[in-house]
Amino acid sequence: MFDYLANPSRFMRIANRLFWPLVAVTVITGAIGLYLGLFVAPADYQQGDTVRIIYVHVPSAWLALFGYVGLGLCGLFYVVWRHPLADLAARAIAPVGAVFALLTLITGALWGKPMWGAWWVWDARLTSMLILFFFYLGFIALANGFDRAERGSRPAALLALVGMINVPIVKFSVDWWNTLHQPASLLRRGGPAIDPSMLTPLVLMLVAAHAYFAVLVILRIRSLLAERRITTLLLRPGGFE
């Protein structure tokens, strides 16, 4: 399957076919999720209305983490098989994942201030999330830090791989350490610990965030592929005119 998808034009054909359905999924689930989350879902008995921040915070956090898994896998494919599409995909994922990681940190702080009394605490979950954000920034800096973009691909891919160590730490930090951040409410043994009235908008927002992430990554891969072709055209004999 990897060989099949590793052909850039075949990959783009499939990605282009999925593009508009993904846009539709983003808009529809996002609109219903926002409506339910802001107007219909009740306020929490402890957190009051601030609980509505989770409809942004949790999807951002999931995508920051899933995005990083994608980045790490691309790094692996690039380091081991030197596949150029893996490099392009990683370059497309990194800025999107970084924005989701930043959003996680900002919305978390905006929830932490009224609920914990602090914008920030050096708790294992928050700290590992901040490190995840720095890995994204490091990848972007390395991938784009050379005159010829391809030179940065290998060091950036290696950095992405090293950062994979941090992924389980982010996910399990709330179980391994005594954190102020609450433990998992969705992916836990015994099923989600959230009432359906709050679970429904959260799941819808999660679906919207995944679809939106895919939309942005496809768009960016498209640009990067076009850029590569432009460079090839310009570099071939007679290309400069």
Binding site: G48, D49, V99, L110, L219, R220, S223, A226, R229
Partner: protein, 51 residues
């Protein structure tokens, strides 16, 4: 309506969260579209002139 925006006194935190999300994701969307359009146009131009 005012009650809805007040969000039990937490309106500032909640609307800032949503606002930041809209700005960040909107900007990402705009930048990605613009880049895709620009590169596609550039490529088409080059391919035309190289025929």
């Amino acid at each position: 309506m005012a009650e809805f925006f007040d969000m039990g006194g937490f309106g500032g935190y909640i609307w800032t969260s949503y606002g930041v999300a809209v700005i960040c994701l909107g900007w990402l969307n705009y930048a990605s579209w613009r880049k895709a359009k620009r590169t596609a146009a550039q490529l088409a131009e080059l391919q035309d002139s190289n025929l």
